[in-house]
């Protein structure tokens, strides 16, 4: 069998090599685009699954980047605005978004769910709420207003996530532009990128620079703060509903525990002050 010469053949060979890798790591399973990674099984399979995730991240980025370079033509730098290369540039941009969003609240699936999203997951009301905008009245008035507050908080949170996602898209576009400039920079030709790892490092470097430029800005801080506050709002509404329910069954609530905690801590501080005063006055046991 001869060596492939067309870029598409090389990419096919790459994909096949990667597929072989995944099947060796977890026999019978391989990640498919948009389908996520295999379900965790026994300990070995779980370790393999994590490695696949990291491997797919690394190889996925380098594959997209290398594909772009191949499409642009060997020896040519890809220009960010080149229409012919839009699909490849979009692919790279998506990789940046995935990388940024893994922790920040807009990641799509699986383990990539951020700590924020995990906290919010249980707070989302399910199903449609036809009376979301209705003025509340009647015997169930209080329940309706509680539901409406929950809906409003959910909508606020979803908007905040969406706004954050939009910001990340812009940062990712900037990162792609930086990447294109870096690859094309005539001054950098003396510092060639001669391996896939170096290609990945360049991707990281450009991504981090674009991210840092945004992250230090006031817009980022404001969007992040809104995401934070929206989530807290949502959780607070959920907690309130749970507490109302607990009170009807005469179960202890977090608010009551907090009150007890505060009183106890104040008492402990007072005891400490008295002990210190006692010591200062030369007191001692027996």
């Amino acid at each position: 069998m001869g060596q492939p010469n067309d870029p598409a053949d090389w990419l096919k060979a790459w994909s096949e090599a990667q597929a072989r890798l995944w099947s060796e790591l977890v026999p019978g399973q391989q990640p498919a685009s948009g389908q996520g990674l295999p379900e965790p099984g026994p300990a070995g399979a779980e370790a393999a699954r994590k490695l696949m995730e990291f491997g797919e991240d690394y190889l996925g980025v380098t594959r997209e980047f290398w594909k772009l370079l191949q499409q642009a033509g060997q020896g040519q730098a890809p220009a960010a605005g080149t229409a012919r290369l839009q699909p490849e540039l979009e692919g790279l941009r998506d990789r940046f978004i995935e990388g940024y969003s893994r922790l920040l609240g807009t990641a799509p699936t699986g383990d990539a769910l951020s700590a924020w999203q995990q906290m919010a997951a249980g707070a989302m009301p399910a199903g449609p709420w036809p009376y979301a905008q209705m003025p509340a009245f009647g015997p169930l008035r209080e329940r309706q207003t509680a539901h409406q507050r929950l809906i409003a908080a959910t909508v606020r949170y979803q908007r905040a996530v969406s706004r954050f996602g939009e910001l990340m898209k812009r940062v990712a576009s900037e990162a792609v532009d930086r990447l294109a400039r870096e690859v094309a920079d005539p001054a950098a030709v003396r510092d060639p990128v001669a391996s896939l790892r170096a290609l990945h490092d360049l991707w990281v470097e450009c991504g981090e620079r674009a991210y840092a430029a945004a992250a230090h800005g006031s817009e980022f801080a404001a969007v992040q703060a809104e995401l934070n506050e929206a989530l807290l709002d949502l959780r607070a509404e959920q907690q309130k509903q749970l507490e109302d329910w607990a009170r009807t069954l005469d179960l202890p609530t977090r608010s009551e525990l907090n009150t007890i905690n505060e009183r106890l801590q104040a008492l402990r501080r007072r005891v400490r002050e008295l002990e210190e005063e006692f010591e200062r006055r030369g007191g001692g046991p027996g």
Binding site: Q3, P4, P7, W10, W14, Q18, R20, L21, L25, A43, G44, A47, L51, M52, F54, G55, D57, Y58, W66, L69, Q70, G75, Q76, A77, G99, R102, L103, L104, S114, A115, W116, M119, V183, A184, D185, P186, P192, V193, L196, H200, D201, W203, V204, E208, Y211, A212, A215, A221, Q224, N228, E229, L232, R235, A236, N258, N261, E262, L264, Q265, R269
Partner: protein, 353 residues
């Protein structure tokens, strides 16, 4: 002209090699086992609530002088100071005869959410130092504050100068409003009272996500791609796993103390601008008159040097020294270079005071 010069054959070969390495990773990780936490022998000498004071057993004859109490940050676990024999600041100090004590703040839970900075500084820290002093028969201890623990140590020393003979601060934020401090920029927009009201204690996982999001691609992508490089090196792999354990072993933060720390330091920068009170007592760094040794890391992305350096000129000490470590916030504890330079610098500085 592109600066990328990777032939298709080379790319394919790299993918295949990466695959082979990853395939070896599963048995290699299984063989590495669960990493331990801390490596030097020690005894618990005092405990209150979840806070424990440890005294390390000597490796050589103890040098004369007061004990050294290490006050670690409330964030993350203090075994970072004693991660493994060849990467242990504590071991480096023990080898130089320092009588090392370490405060372990434990893992706060829901019952601790009302603990305030007053409880930590004037309560636990004060009593831990009192215990260390009493055991050694001295009126004052040497205090080594690390990161946030350094900030708490500065406050403590200003409030209780009679209890601190010498103060060492490591990677300690002092000025929280320097332009390169990203964490501070983010924290300034936080409605932290609301946050604590809703969350109670602040989850360690949330703090971790925040720290990682300072450099998301480097810390969640590039780092793990690098695992393929060390998969055939059991020592490097064990080091990696130990670091991973430490990074993600993050205690929740007692709500009240967290809120005070964010507001007073990150948002209002009171250590520099004034107006800080802990337990109803004014904290003024001018009141800190003991010798001070300020250690920072030149590449620190969490506590940039610009946040640590302003300590010079803020204290009332006539004996102020500095030490710059060339490395990052983590490297200062665990790198080979740190092991060779940081413990000797601290021990030598203490030895003549």
């Amino acid at each position: 002209m592109s600066r990328v010069s990777i032939s298709p054959e080379q790319a394919l070969a790299e993918v295949a090699e990466f695959g082979r390495r990853l395939a070896r990773a599963v048995p290699a990780l299984a063989a590495a086992g669960e990493p331990g936490a801390g490596c030097s022998a020690r005894d618990a000498v005092w405990q209150e609530d979840k806070v424990v004071l440890y005294r390390y057993r000597p490796l050589v004859e103890r040098a004369p002088g007061p004990p050294l109490v290490i006050c670690y940050a409330l964030v993350n676990r203090p075994y970072m100071m004693d991660l493994q024999p060849d990467r242990s600041l504590i071991r480096g100090l023990l080898e130089r005869g320092v009588d090392v004590h370490l405060i372990d703040w434990g893992y706060p839970d829901g019952a601790d959410r009302c603990l305030a900075l007053d409880d930590y500084v004037n309560g636990y820290l004060h009593r831990a130092i009192g215990r260390a002093c009493a055991a050694s028969g001295v009126p004052a201890a040497n205090l080594l504050g690390v990161c946030q623990g350094g900030t708490l140590s500065l406050c403590y020393t200003a409030l209780h100068p009679e209890r601190v003979r010498n103060l060492v601060t490591m990677v300690t934020p002092v000025d929280f409003h320097t332009p390169d401090n990203l964490l501070s920029k983010w924290a300034r927009n936080l409605d932290v009272d609301r946050m604590v009201q809703v969350l109670g204690n602040v989850p360690g996982e949330l703090l971790n996500a925040t720290f990682l999001s300072l450099m998301p691609l480097r810390l969640t992508s590039q780092k793990y791609a690098g695992v393929a490089d060390i998969i055939d090196d059991p020592v490097a792999l064990a080091n990696f796993l130990r670091m991973e354990k430490w990074i993600f072993d993050s205690p929740d933060q007692a709500g009240a103390a967290f809120a005070e720390f964010i507001k007073w330091f990150f948002q209002e920068n009171r250590l520099v601008l004034g107006g800080l009170q802990i337990g109803g007592r004014r904290v003024d760094l001018e009141d800190l008159r003991c010798p001070v040794f300020n250690v920072w890391a030149s590449e620190d992305h969490l506590v940039p040097p610009s946040a640590s350096k302003p300590l010079r000129g803020l204290t009332g000490s006539a004996d102020y020294s500095e030490f710059e470590f060339r490395g990052g916030h983590i490297g200062i504890y665990v790198s080979g270079r740190a092991r060779e330079t940081v413990p000797p610098a601290i021990a030598d500085w203490l030895a003549v005071r």
